[in-house]
């Protein structure tokens, strides 16, 4: 009895720790949001039922927090036992009191004044938590571990050289004892990778190069030495299946983006989904969505883990809505292609063959005169997360239907140079920015839209499903927060955030 009392006392005295076990069951905790996507499976789904279509019109702000730093905010807040951890540009971490929005601590590291981000903004998409630590990747390519109660720096390790265009913008992923980190810099001619670090010490445990080196399988899919600056960055947070012990992480486009003169071949493992053994970082399988990509269609989108019955067989699957306008279903254990269907207008592929490889329409690659192709460089979807309602087996995603003229130009690699070899120009008029974007729901894994809601153009629509039939969205260029409902729009006063374009997903 005395011992039990002691442990009870100990339990009340110890601050709440974010154990691996809690992370594994993240979706079951009411009021908490423990990982980037809410759970390891990437569902971004809230179990809360308090918010309903009936009471949504009465929802109003109870606090507002003003970012100290200007710029675009793309953080996905993480909430642990009454504390919300967010990031501000460029790599600042702030702990907020959930009840009042008041800051509890902030950690700010000055960036080198000459730091360059090539092909993207000074973004940070959030933190990971494990134990009593908060982990953040910085724009100058360091991984930092902070004390969750004070923001004190516990350790910091270099991940890659910022002077070669490496940056970290993605939230890390915390799994048992390890912190998984991705890297950005595809337009700077980096060689992409996915890293694992010891959560306690910061020691690097493994690195998976997303472009195989000489002698490794896949290296021959790059002509000559083009693999050295081939890109394939890993700039969004992947997902994790603890049972299979596999990490699923998407890779970006090959470089130079629009000029393939020197990079003949499929360019593995660019524009792919990699399934890595979490203990060793070894590649278990890969699936390449867009072999030899010519349109900057990164495949870094969130891989959503689900159960599905495909052709009469129940399987563990991974679903991914790709920037190239196709929705894919793969077997989670083997990477076998199960299904693929376009979810938005596209003019670059006749379809997919039985292995899931696109049948590319000739004449759709970038040229010096420009070629009009759907989707645009920004893609039919992009970094903004999808959501998955497991009970209804519905996949929600934000879609943009846009086209662009793709141009090809010269490409010469030099450190910190823009190594894209071309670019895009969007159409003028109402078929370009603005007219066609919104939230689509895909029905029961087959990729067919069961409903869609088209809204005015928004740079980063976010979806997140509540257990009631409500889908929320936030963020357009002026910083307004809005929301869309399943059937009809519900009037809800917009909140405007001054000074920042808030492009973060809503939390429920």
């Amino acid at each position: 009895m005395r011992i039990a009392a002691f442990f009870l006392l100990l339990a009340t005295l110890l601050p709440a720790q974010v154990t691996y076990e809690r992370l594994r069951a993240g979706e079951l905790e009411r009021g908490n949001w423990l990982t980037y996507s809410g759970n390891y499976a990437g569902h971004r789904f809230s179990p809360l039922t308090e918010m309903t279509p009936a009471n949504a019109p009465a929802i109003h702000a109870i606090w507002a927090y003003q970012s100290h730093n200007p710029g675009e905010v793309e953080t996905s807040p993480v909430v642990v036992d009454g504390v919300m951890y967010i990031t501000e540009p460029p790599s600042t971490v702030v702990a907020l009191d959930v009840a009042t929005g008041r800051p509890l601590w902030r950690w700010e590291r000055p960036m080198p004044p000459d730091l360059k981000t090539i092909g993207f903004g000074r973004w940070n998409r959030g933190v990971a938590v494990l134990g009593d630590m908060v982990y953040v990747g910085t724009l100058d390519s360091k991984l930092a571990a902070l004390d969750a109660r004070s923001g004190a720096l516990r350790w910091e390790v270099p991940v890659a050289d910022p002077n070669l265009g490496h940056c970290i913008t993605a939230a890390p992923l915390a799994i048992g004892g390890k912190i998984i980190v991705g890297i950005a810099g595809g337009e700077a001619g980096i060689r992409g990778f996915i890293d694992a670090y010891d959560a306690k010490t910061g020691k690097r445990l493994w690195r998976f190069w997303t472009i195989p080196g000489p002698g490794e399988p896949g290296n021959k899919s790059w002509a000559g030495d083009s693999w050295q600056h081939g890109g394939a960055p890993t700039w969004l947070t992947g997902t994790y299946d603890p049972e299979l012990n596999l990490i699923y992480w998407g890779t970006g486009n090959p470089g130079p983006d629009f000029n393939d003169d020197e990079r003949a071949g499929d360019n593995l493992y660019s524009c792919s989904l990699a399934a890595l053994d979490a203990d060793t970082g070894k590649l278990r399988w890969h699936f390449q969505f867009t072999p030899h990509d010519m349109h900057d269609w990164d495949s870094t989108q969130i891989p959503v883990l689900a159960q599905a019955t495909v052709r009469g067989t129940k399987r563990k699957v991974v679903a991914l809505a790709n920037r190239n306008a196709f929705y894919y279903l793969l077997d989670r254990a083997t990477g076998e292609f199960l299904l693929g269907t376009p979810f938005a207008k596209q003019t670059w592929a006749k379809g997919l063959n039985d292995k899931g490889r696109p049948i590319v329409i000739p004449g759709t690659d970038a040229t010096e005169q420009g070629v009009l192709v759907w989707p645009s460089l920004q893609g039919a979807t992009n970094w903004f997360s999808p959501s998955y309602d497991a009970a209804a087996q519905r996949f929600y995603l934000s879609v943009r239907e846009m086209s662009a003229y793709y141009f090809k130009s010269d490409a010469h690699y030099k450190p910190l140079g823009f190594f894209a070899g071309g670019g895009e120009r969007v159409l003028d008029g109402d078929k370009a920015w603005g007219a066609l974007s919104g939230i689509f729901a895909c029905n029961r894994h087959h990729g067919r839209a069961c409903w869609q809601r088209r809204e005015g153009w928004s740079s980063a629509v976010q979806t997140k499903v509540t257990s009631m039939p409500l889908t929320l969205r936030t963020g357009n260029r002026s910083g307004n927060f809005k929301r869309a409902a399943r059937s009809a729009p519900i009037r809800w006063p917009s909140l405007t955030a001054a000074g920042n374009a808030w492009r973060l997903p809503p939390l429920v």
Binding site: P15, R102, P103, R149
Partner: protein
């Protein structure tokens, strides 16, 4: 004539130092001591963070984020230049001597369990102030006071408060944030508590109170020597 020139040059050099000394005495000495000898703030004989005059000027102008060094917003452009020149001239101020042994101090630090509330180089738990760079921030005299009479040297941002809710248990802890309507505390078990003031029966500010136990005896000299040796990353 030669003697006159000599006096003139002395007077000129004194005059050259004076413009920055005044604003320094008014704004900087409360922390950095007379002539930059140190106190609550560091001795200014070695300017670790400001290798060039331009860097020093920037530092005085913008402060040091995450420390108690504030922005020198009240200084005019001329005063900023003058203070920079004056601080640069303080390079010959001798640092205060410490008599203890840093290695023994480190042992005492471990033995006394200081790491359960302080972080040094990423080790330990954060409740009290971080000590990674404490040797370049505080003078030995200040550290002695902080060790022997912790309540007398509570640093900014570590005020102890006691919140008594109308319903529920009283909570004592370090004030993390406070505004007109709410207050947030971190208790000694490192749990955050957030209160709306309208829900509190009483809110006491425990001025000159520190959760740190006072230190006495020979350990103090050794602890000071250890703490002074903590100067952060070079």
């Amino acid at each position: 004539m030669r003697r006159l020139l000599f006096y003139f040059s002395i007077a000129a050099s004194l005059f050259a130092q004076l413009p920055g000394k005044r604003p320094f005495d008014a704004q900087c000495t409360p922390c950095h001591g007379i002539g930059g000898a140190g106190g609550r703030g560091p001795n200014l004989s070695v300017l670790r963070r400001a290798k060039t005059d331009e860097a020093l000027r920037e530092l005085i102008h913008k402060g040091i984020p995450g420390t108690e060094m504030p922005k020198g917003w009240m200084l005019s452009e001329k005063e900023l230049r003058d203070v920079t020149a004056y601080v640069r001239s303080l390079g010959n101020v001798a640092p205060e001597r410490v008599s203890g042994d840093a290695l023994r101090g480190r042992e005492a630090y471990i033995r006394d369990g200081c790491a359960s509330c302080h972080v040094v180089g990423g080790e330990g738990q954060a409740y009290g102030p971080e000590l990674t760079e404490i040797g370049s921030r505080r003078s030995p005299a200040y550290l002695r006071e902080a060790l022997e009479k912790p309540g007398a040297a509570v640093p900014e941002g570590f005020l102890m408060v006691r919140a008594v809710p109308v319903a529920g248990k009283a909570v004592e802890g370090i004030r993390v944030n406070e505004d007109s309507f709410t207050i947030q505390l971190l208790d000694s078990a490192r749990r955050f508590h957030s209160f709306r003031k309208m829900d509190l029966a009483k809110l006491e500010k425990l001025i000159q109170t520190s959760p740190m136990p006072p230190h006495r005896g020979a350990d103090v000299d050794d602890l000071i020597a250890y703490l002074i040796s903590l100067r952060g990353a070079p």
